[in-house]
């Protein structure tokens, strides 16, 4: 049990640090195609234990968003997206539940439920997260095309980054 909490706290600081220091500066598309933003920190919410209460999940999402917003100096933008992911996570988990059900002792990882399941789980929530984020970041329907373009481009690269993390770090909880 202690192991789970320590793991998550460490992961929180790692993700926020990587996001704030490295990924914020990364300009993958160069100055001409500034559509790709890399997001790793939503993965923290996805990897929280299955049995976490809904209220705790919302509060954790709020805290995570605030930390990232502190790094980005954009009060509220990342937080709003994190809250949406936190409120939708139980719903998505219920929809994607495997036939034999979830195993409470296992983490929500590739190792536990397979790559395909994890791709669906992370894909849905990451896409929603990015969409909310870019809507609030760009904040005008005038650039609707840009919102969608940035969401899709960032989605593909961020999802790849998350899978890389899962493969390399092999978290079990």
């Amino acid at each position: 049990m202690n192991n789970v909490i320590t793991q998550n706290i460490l992961r929180l600081f790692f993700f926020v640090l990587v996001q704030g220091v490295v990924l914020q500066q990364a300009k993958l598309g160069g100055t001409f195609f500034n559509y790709i933003s890399l997001f790793i920190y939503p993965l923290f919410l996805l990897l929280l234990p299955l049995k976490i209460s809904k209220i705790a999940l919302v509060l954790t999402g709020f805290g995570l968003g605030m930390l990232v917003d502190g790094a980005y100096n954009s009060p509220g933008v990342h937080t709003a997206a994190c809250l949406v992911v936190a409120i939708l996570r139980p719903l998505v988990l219920a929809i994607l539940e495997p036939r034999e059900g979830y195993n409470v002792s296992l983490g929500l990882t590739i190792k536990s439920y397979g790559v395909l399941w994890f791709l669906k789980y992370a894909g849905v929530l990451l896409f929603i997260h990015l969409l909310v984020y870019f809507v609030l970041e760009i904040f005008t329907p005038v650039y609707a095309i840009e919102i969608i373009g940035r969401t899709i481009a960032s989605f593909l690269f961020s999802l790849f980054l998350m899978i890389m993390y899962m493969v390399i770090a092999r978290p079990s909880v």
Partner: protein, 274 residues
């Protein structure tokens, strides 16, 4: 109380989510420069647009009243103009109102036809407004017809497009006068008969009321000559007049009350009987 606690246990996370999202939106539009500018701008546009639409709508609702008002005002003005033109020069400044022969009353068209052989209009003024049989009806573009039947609140008008409506008309330029008659086909064309062949008639000449009948004051616009021919062996021109009034779009009309109508009619009747 217990229900409230249960409700919160059940939906607490969702309520919390809503509250935190509102807080986030508050942060976004207050502490992010770009979003704040966009927000302020959009709010301006939204409120400006809404109040404009609201004004349009309320204006639209009062449009009917305004139109009635304007029609009334129009009738009054036209009444003055007609009487002014009629009164002899000496009377013009002082005794005008006492001598006023014609009075105009504005009315709304309740129903109207143009596609029958004999067309009628119904208007929303009747006996209680002082409307009587045989009064003339005009609109801003020209004459409309003659009152045929009157009830308490409504009156039926024999439109100019009625084969039994005869109106005395004259060619404005020469003063030659004849009788207007509709043949029952084209609602824009009427025939002008009884213009003798020694009169010079040209396409485009203006046709106005002659003032010899008691229905209309003289000089009211009727239309212009569309075509004319003089069949050989005929004493009269065959003139077609294009009406200035579009009978299909009539909404407001004015009833002409001629105060001296009875006098004139009685006199004419007396002469005929002798």
């Amino acid at each position: 109380m217990r229900n409230l606690v249960l409700l919160f246990l059940r939906f607490g996370h969702f309520i919390l989510f809503i509250l935190l999202e509102i807080f986030c939106l508050y942060l976004i539009v207050n502490y992010n420069r770009k979003q704040r500018d966009i927000w302020a701008n959009s709010a301006n546009i939204f409120w400006g647009y809404s109040s404009e639409k609201w004004n349009d709508w309320t204006n639209y609702l009062s449009l009917q009243d305004k139109m009635d008002e304007l029609a009334l005002e129009n009738a009054k003005l036209k009444e003055k103009l007609i009487n002014y033109e009629l009164s002899p020069i000496v009377e013009k400044d002082t005794l005008q109102t006492l001598n006023q022969q014609y009075e105009l009353l504005s009315a709304k068209v309740a129903s109207n036809t143009t596609d029958r052989p004999n067309n009628y209009l119904t208007i929303n003024k009747g006996i209680k407004d002082g409307v009587r049989k045989d009064m003339g009806v005009i609109s801003e573009n020209g004459i409309v017809g003659i009152i045929r039947e009157v009830r308490n609140d409504y009156a039926a008008v024999n439109s100019l497009l009625h084969r039994r409506t005869f109106i005395s008309a004259m060619i404005k330029r020469t003063g030659a006068f004849g009788e207007l008659k509709w043949v029952g086909t084209n609602p824009q064309i009427v025939n002008l008969g009884s213009i003798e062949k020694h009169n010079i008639v040209a396409v485009g000449d203006t046709i106005v009321t002659s003032g010899y009948s008691t229905h209309f004051p003289p000089g009211l616009m009727i239309g212009t000559i569309a075509s004319t021919e003089l069949p050989s062996g005929n004493n009269f021109h065959n003139i077609k007049v294009r009406l200035s009034n579009d009978f299909g779009t009539l909404r407001y009309v004015e009833i002409v009350k001629n105060r001296k109508q009875t006098q004139q009619l009685e006199l004419e009747k007396e002469i005929k009987e002798k």
